[in-house]
């Protein structure tokens, strides 16, 4: 391009709009061409304040560290002892979040069970019911009780080690789901009592209760059916964490699963994923505050999820008051989702490894989020389980490394005082001081 026009006047540098970016423009063109909003899987992709904005200070003269590999740093957690006679004992505080058979293949669900069991933790069913391979390979299996009640029956309910009443998920607080027809195989259709090949809507709210008073009665019913043996969790999205946690505890929950907007979904509208809900970092302190105000912190366990990726994230969640975390997207990546070795196939689908999120279309090159028999063959559940176990072990070792450096002999002993924030936003959300100061926005008795 010439730097001047034919009259000798310089061209200005072409300037792309920050408002109408290439991403935005491609969304507009896609909408104009199709007339349909974009549906995708996964969680929020936008950058939000996160655990990356927090740092541990480590030990110093006032705090002394524990010896790595030598001095004990416990990672175990017991969930659900408040009302249940058989609470869940986990070796590590990293659980596998609910993901449906239907969204995932049977072998992928099996791999999650294998990996979780080898690592000493629990896995969770999803919208679509419990499969025998999942139950068979999971030492500790949490049964999700969802609005759709797809595949829901009392026999499976009684096979569960815990029941998780799903009110919402971080990717779409207030939203239901849709499993598109191309993923509805005979087996999926049979489990859901619906014809093959049609879109299956997952309801956004439960068919037989609304509000906290009803929830209390629903929990009573589930306990009566399961003999008050297994813990009952309530899963809520990061919408109004202080009030949601308060109401769930009041309704009788043994544990709360709290899911931030980075938490994934099998499929929902992109606009929902990116614009409804709060970041994981923003929801933990109000939730812990609610438990503390009720005198229930550490009695009703808090399981935090939504974008947990590493032992550092685990340690930060626990320092801010969580009892455990749950991983979904990270577990799928450990199994082989979005692996660059399939780059050519991702390219053929119009995307690239790492960005692939059209899991609902059932064409997953990694063979994990599909019901296509040929694609499913690519995924080995035994190898997948081993990879997940390795990953869970690494996360645990990482969290222990940090905890020992902070002088803690149990991950639960990590505390907000071990943390500082890199940004004002993170300081305000986590209520820990901005680096180099003794202040965070909103700190009591400060005037600015």
């Amino acid at each position: 391009m010439n730097s001047h026009d034919d009259k000798g006047i310089p061209h200005t540098t072409p300037r792309q709009s920050a408002t109408f970016s290439a991403d935005v423009n491609s969304d507009i063109r896609r909408a104009a061409a199709t007339g349909i909003y974009d549906i995708r899987g996964g969680g929020a992709k936008r950058k939000v304040p996160s655990f990356d904005d927090l740092l541990f200070m480590g030990a110093s003269i006032s705090r002394y560290p524990l010896e790595g590999y030598r001095e004990k740093c416990d990672t175990s957690v017991t969930i659900g002892g408040l009302h249940a006679s058989n609470p869940i004992h986990l070796d590590i505080p990293i659980t596998i979040a609910g993901m449906s058979f239907g969204a995932l293949s049977g072998p992928a669900k099996e791999a999650l069970g294998r990996g979780a069991s080898m690592a000493g933790t629990s896995t969770t069913t999803g919208d679509g019911g419990m499969t025998p391979e999942e139950r068979g390979h999971s030492n500790k299996l949490v049964y999700q009780y969802l609005p759709s009640r797809y595949g829901m029956n009392p026999d499976d309910l009684r096979k569960a080690d815990a029941i998780e009443i799903v009110v919402g998920q971080g990717a779409k607080p207030g939203g239901g789901g849709m499993l598109l027809g191309q993923k509805i195989s005979d087996r999926v259709a049979g489990m859901r009592n619906l014809p093959k090949g049609i879109d299956q809507r997952s309801a956004c709210r439960h068919p037989d209760w609304t509000g906290p008073d009803d929830l209390e009665i629903k929990i009573l019913e589930l306990r009566e059916i399961t003999g008050w043996k297994v813990p009952i969790y309530v899963k809520v999205a990061g919408a109004r964490p202080y009030y949601d946690v308060t109401l769930a505890v009041k309704a009788g929950a043994d544990a709360i699963v709290l899911d931030g907007m980075q938490g994934g979904t099998a499929a929902t509208q992109d606009v929902f994923i990116e614009h409804v809900g709060q970041p994981t970092l923003a929801i933990i302190r109000p939730a812990v505050q609610a438990l503390q105000d009720l005198g229930m912190h550490r009695k009703v366990q808090l399981i935090l999820s939504g974008g947990i990726r590493s032992g550092a994230d685990v340690a930060k969640a626990m320092a801010l008051g969580a009892d455990a975390v749950a991983i979904g997207t990270a577990a799928l990546i450990a199994l082989g989702d979005n692996d660059p070795k399939y780059e050519a196939e991702y390219n053929a689908l119009g995307t690239t490894s790492g960005a692939y999120d059209d899991w609902h279309e059932g064409k997953d090159p990694a063979g994990i989020t599909t019901q296509d028999p040929e694609l499913m063959k690519r995924f080995d559940p035994i190898e997948g389980g081993r990879r997940l176990k390795n990953y869970l072990k690494v996360m645990t070792l990482e969290a222990q490394t940090i905890a020992r450096a902070c002088g803690k002999n149990h991950l639960h002993n990590l505390e907000p005082e071990d943390l500082v924030a890199l940004t004002m936003e993170a300081a305000a959300m986590a209520k820990v001081p901005l680096c180099g100061t003794d202040w965070y926005p909103g700190k009591p008795n400060t005037s600015y």
Partner: protein, 227 residues
Amino acid sequence: MQSFDLEAQGLRALNSTLNAQSTETNQTVWEVTNPKGSHAIAVGLDAPIEVNVKGSTGYYCGGMNKQATIHVHGSAGPGTGENMMSGKIIIEGDASQYLGATAHGGLIVVKGNASSRCGISMKGVNIVVQGNIGHMSAFMGQSGNLVVCGDAGDALGDSCYEARFFVRGSVKSLGADCEKKEMRPEHIEFLREIIAESGVDAKPEEFTRYGSARTLYNFDVDNAGAY
């Protein structure tokens, strides 16, 4: 007959006793006195027993029932027979909202009226109501049959799948994708059998059938205005 005073003996004792009954039990008939609107009465049963509840019940009576016959000699609260798998529930009085929600099988008979969202997300159950049913009944109904001898409220069968609805009286309005259907001989025959089994007062020829128009089965933006 075994008798159980709910007020004196408590809910936990009732349900644990009833849940302990097996297919081979010879204690097949039970009577529950003083229910006084208690919630979660006779839930999760899995034996061919008969439970007679002498009074009105609260939420979720007979929830997730398998095999058992539960007879409520009074009115029943919300979510009665929710997710029932098999067996029978008979309600002498009226039933509150969400009757038979997501129920997979068996038969629920209401001698009085049923409230809103009757048969919501039903997945195979048969529900027979002698009186009227409220609005949004059989919302997202997947399979099974809802037989109404009286009238149906607004938005019957909204967004339904393969469930069938038979209404003898008027339907205030049909929900999205629900339409009037032709009555064929097999429907008359089905009604004849279920009316006899339910003991309600009606003739098969008096009913009109409704069900899914199946236009919303696969997403199409041109249907977005239907919701």
